[in-house]
Amino acid sequence: MSINNNMIDVLQDQKWESIPWKKLQVGDIIKVKQDGFFPADLLLLASTNADGVCYIETANLDGETNLKIRKALEKTWDYVTPEKASEFKGEIQCEQPNNSLYTFTGNLLIQKQTLPLSPNQILLRGCSLRNTEYIVGVVIFTGHETKVMMNAMNVPSKRSTLERKLDKLILTLFATLFMMCFIGAIGSAIFVNKKYFYLHLDSSEKGSAQFNPRNRFLVFLLTMFTLITLYSTIIPISLYVSIEMIKFIQSTQFINKDLCMYHSETNTPALARTSNLNEELGQVEYIFSDKTGTLTRNLMEFFKCSIGGEVYGNGVTEIERGLAERNGMKIDENKSANAVQERGFNFDDARLMRGAWRNEPNPDVCKEFFRCLAICHTVLPEGEESPEKIKYQAASPDEAALVIAAKNFGFFFYRRTPTTINVRESHVEKMGKIQDVSYEILNVLEFNSTRKRQSVVCRYPDGRLVLYCKGADTVIYERLADGNTNNNIKKVTREHLELFGSAGLRTLCLAYKELHPDVYESWNEKFIQAKSSLNDREKKLDEVAELIENDLILIGSTAIEDKLQEGVPACIETLQRAGIKIWVLTGDKIETAINIAYACNLINNEMKQFVISSETDAIREVEDRGDQVEIARFIKDEVKRELKKCLEEAESYFHSLSGPKLALVIDGKCLMYALDPSLRVMLLNLSLNCHSVVCCRVSPLQKAQVTSMVKKGARKITLSIGDGANDVSMIQAAHVGIGISGMEGMQAVMASDFAIAQFRYLADLLLVHGRWSYLRICKVVIYFFYKNLTFTLTQFWFTFQTGFSGQRFYDDWFQSLYNVIFTALPVIIVGLFDKDVSSSLSKKYPELYMEGIKNVFFKWKVVAIWAFFSVYQSLIFFYFVSTTNLSAKNSAGKIFGLWDVSTMAFTCVVITVNLRLLMICNSITRWHYISVGGSILAWFIFIFIYSGISTPYDRQENIYFVIYVLMSTFYFYIMLLLVPAAALFCDFVYQGVQRWFFPYDYQIIQEMHRDEVDNTGRAQLLEVGNQLTPAEARSYAISQLPRELSKHTGFAFDSPGYESFFAAQLGVYAPPKAWDVARRASMRSKPKIGHKK
């Protein structure tokens, strides 16, 4: 793999030497530069940042976008330079390699001291380094022993469900073969009798045992074997070869070269990495999707805001666009000329830009809004202090987006010192005036997941004390001051929050509060006290914060778009119409996950949502007590209770037809217990009844477990799609694994079966390629079954007329070439070219896909119908043709022999079987004609030559001149018209009646669009162009959103917090933050580490 040839710096003789990843060994000391990926699991020794802190991005592991902090042990901080690092001598004792991403136990023995190691010093393979020039680390686990790889499961060899069903069909055929042979062999044993003197059965020459009437059991056995070879044509051996060939061409020529799935920005075409699963794509019922990188671009953009009860921002989100398009309106992206486009800022409203906000109804509120954005954050500016060149280092892209927004509104935050924030403010006093203002930062009340807010107390240059606060609407609203104006704004802003939320935007509420110096001073004392307390510091800090974060005045709210990949909501909508259920499995927080589910239209306000979360007060309380056994028991009971409740409710909805659609949201911890065998069934029942399911905070292994639960428990066909290393196991666990290609990480693609560049190409891959593949392979399989059964049955009927002796009806060559030449090519052509409706119609009517989910075309019922017609046709072939035997067949009174009859029958079979193929075609290209005509022609050419020559080789010249004898009679031609017509008569009636009275969906669609020329270029679907002005579009889109009052207001924000983030800068001790999932668990171990230091 190319990835293992990447170069990495390794310490050798006090120098950094570049060697490829694959040469790394445990114990090597290596240097990883900024934005580089860790090549192995490392123990962090030192970082260029002060205090041995480094920032890592774990998106590849858990999909989380905010940076994580890792901190080296104090003892090792100095080993930054190669000279120093080469002096490092120590011993690392650690646990065996395992798959738990969030735990690590070990010791570092250095200078005769034993230092405990925690997950906090571990850099896992798959993560990358951010905001740190470089780090030095020791390799602990490499290759397959890394935690990421331990999470990967054995690469399963995947076979499609259809192929597995095909195996059953083949087994059935074997059983049929055995039955036929058994009947024949019994018949033979009964038949043999000395009375047929002309057979000389009583002689004792070599080989006569087969028909020796004195040993009928031997006759039975030997005839059995003879008949097995005779009827072996019933097993379509060439079927597998043909299918492989068809699938190979389908994947290499059709999927890989589909222009509709070529992504020009990343120059990535679709890639089928296996040709096994083409038709599986046509039967997918459950899609498990990763979030980050798959559904979203991992790009936050400031999109809208509400200031003082007024909505700003003209942008239309994908979901709004989708809604509008569904209602037949097309929204043009009419960017106004002065719209600023920048990474992180996608806001278009002239009313706020370039100081225009001064003319808005409430300019003061606007000013506070912008100041709050510019001051209340934990972002670090980097680089030149000019608006164009500056770079913001933020713990989460949300934060950066907010600061960038402030910059674009004219409040440019350009410098941070430990005590001040410098903002270059424009248009504040009067239009066009720019002034630099320095705000003194007095306190920072940091963000965490229980507080869900973040506050900054700052002193204006004029001495005014202001507290700015931003956070979740729920927590902010609780802390707002009462008052008439405030109440009005509260109400309006709340409505706006709901609009933003249902549009899938991530919202934050902004508020401020003027502080009286006396009040502040008394509070600050408490704060400092709390801050310096040794135990329960966090809890005390939270309590102190509560004291000042009250009586706030609401400014407004921001709405950040977690930028979706292009076309995601539309694609999801299409897939849902196709009967596919989409589950989002993400390592991200519950709020973010729900938010994206809203943005993707997976969840909306009309749906009944079941939320099973471990973040409840009851669970938290038990967890704080710290008894592991008790926690496990309690959560399990809790989860069980919740599941039972939800299931009951779901069932009551399910029975009433008009009930709402259901959605389930569950987090990783609950999932861990819900996946327990005792609760599994309940979980499965509940989730299968849900229209969409969101699992958040799940580990890679849980993703795989959920996938296999549906795969094995519900026996549905599953598809997983993801882009990162954390999706690998899920991709491998599902029936079909899809990797998002064209981005940095390749692990997902390497594990996948298909790689596409964008989520939206799933529609093409499933609805077009998958569906066609399924239809085609079904046809090929069924047709093979039919043609071999028909052929073999004629042979079988003949056996009854030969005293069960096993005499061949057809010449050996006919029998061998039947599958290879006379019927081989047309079926391959069908497997390649048949299509029921065009690709654009396939996407226009995604419901057609349901035929694949229900496996309509390869049921036992279908097989039985074909078997019935097979039997019918074979009877026609044999008995119609064998009537030929008795009387004279030309005017010269001559009689046909065995080989004349069999050649005639074979001709009829070849013609009929090939014509039958044309009857199953939905579209007939000239290749169909060529191959069908060619096959029939090939038979005649063959028989002309074969019966025209008599070779000197020792062979029975039974066929000599037969075809010429046949063709010299009228009888032959009359039969040639009669037999195929009579054989196909029933099939034709069946097809006509079926289409007339019980039409398949695709047949109706065909009829609806029968007059349309299949225009080339896969024209996009007709779009009713209703031109709207941006303002109209906006109001329309807003009005289309669900009006129902809901709880969802789209809060989703995370930040590791001020203290830990700026610990390096301030030289203050920061409690190490563990991985978020393990946060609570690591809390208990934290003090231990703390004491050591």
């Binding site: 028909f211 070269k257 589909d258 067949k889 065995l898 009359i974 034709f988 009829e1007 029968r1010």
Partner: protein, 341 residues
């Protein structure tokens, strides 16, 4: 020219880097195709065409078959003297076993009249029987020794048998001679086999050798002085039949037989079908352009044509009474049960 090459070299390099698939109708699956739709109209017209084509052919075949006059006479039981109890022993005793039969001509028979014998329950298509011959030996006088496949009738008294094998060994050997009003009707036995067999499969310089010299006599003897290519009874016999009931051409009577004629048949009843209770029949038949009497073809054609006609009527009535509108979206499954699960 030079500028154009210089100009095109640049885009070509970028094109090489681009992984954009090239457009072709094949890879984009847009090959032009006709899409036949089995509309009710198409179904009805297809059946109408079948009716129009099949009924006339059926009628023609039936007429042809009816023009053929056929006389069938089963004689295996009657040609055993009534005092014989062990039929097999009787037939196996050497010597002439003459038998007289009378055939009544019900309808005028135009010459040529073909004389067939028909055997029942005789498995000429048995695997052991079919392969028991050697085509090399039959064709080539130099290969008299190649008797592979002929066991157990490959050699007798240490000498190879020509023609070898069970087929030749069990040659049918009943004889028929006909007389009308005590005038002999000559039976022409020339040209009763397929020309290709005569000329290519049986050598004109291959003579029977050591034939029927074994311990058991299977059937007829052959004149050792006549080459195999002229032993047409053998050639006919060796074109093995497909089914256990079959007819073989015995000869031709080249005079017309009038209605009411009584034909005396002098039968040499030699062939043993009694051991396996096979029937023996004598058949006199004229032919038409389609061959012998064969009502099956006509009936089959008329059945198919008639069924088609019936379906045309039935479908037309349904079509008129309760037509299904083509492409009616209400037939779509997701429209039929809205919100169905």
């Amino acid at each position: 020219m030079a500028t154009s090459t210089a100009g095109s070299s640049d885009p070509s390099t970028t094109r090489r880097q681009s992984k954009k698939p090239k457009y072709s109708k094949f890879t984009q699956q847009e090959l032009p195709a006709c899409k036949p739709i089995l509309t009710p109209r198409a179904v009805i017209s297809a059946f109408l065409i079948v009716t129009i084509v099949f009924v006339p052919i059926g009628v023609a075949s039936l007429i042809a078959s009816h023009d053929v006059v056929e006389i069938i006479d089963r004689y295996d039981a009657e040609c055993i003297p009534s005092n014989v109890t062990d039929k097999v022993a009787y037939i196996q005793t050497p010597g002439e076993k003459p038998c007289k039969r009378e055939l009544h001509v019900e309808k005028r028979m135009k010459s040529p009249i073909y004389v067939y014998y028909q055997l029942d329950n005789f498995y000429q298509n048995h695997r052991r029987y079919v392969k028991s011959r050697n085509d090399d030996q039959l064709r080539d006088s130099g290969k008299a020794n190649s008797v592979s496949g002929c066991e157990p009738e490959d050699d007798a008294n240490g000498m190879p048998i020509v023609p070898c094998g069970l087929i030749a060994w069990s040659l049918f050997n009943d004889t028929y001679s006909f007389s009308r009003n005590s005038n002999n009707l000559t039976v022409n036995k020339k040209g009763i086999s397929w020309k290709s067999d005569r000329e290519h499969k049986f050598g004109s310089d291959v003579f029977p050798k050591n034939f029927q010299n074994g311990s058991i006599i299977g059937g007829g003897h052959l004149d050792v002085n006549i080459p195999l290519s002229e032993q047409e009874d053998l050639i006919v016999w060796m074109r093995t039949a497909a089914l256990p009931t079959f007819r073989k051409l015995y000869g031709k009577i080249e005079v017309d037989l009038e209605k009411g004629d009584v034909i005396q048949v002098n039968l040499g009843n030699n062939y043993n079908t009694y051991s396996f209770s096979g029937k023996k029949k004598l058949v006199l038949s004229t032919t038409s352009w389609l061959g012998g009497k064969n009502d099956f073809l006509g009936i089959a054609y008329l059945t198919v044509g008639g069924l088609s006609f019936f379906l045309v009527l039935a479908f037309t009535i349904i079509y008129l009474i309760k037509p299904r509108q083509l492409g009616d979206p209400s037939y779509l499954s997701w429209n039929r049960n809205p919100g169905g699960h």
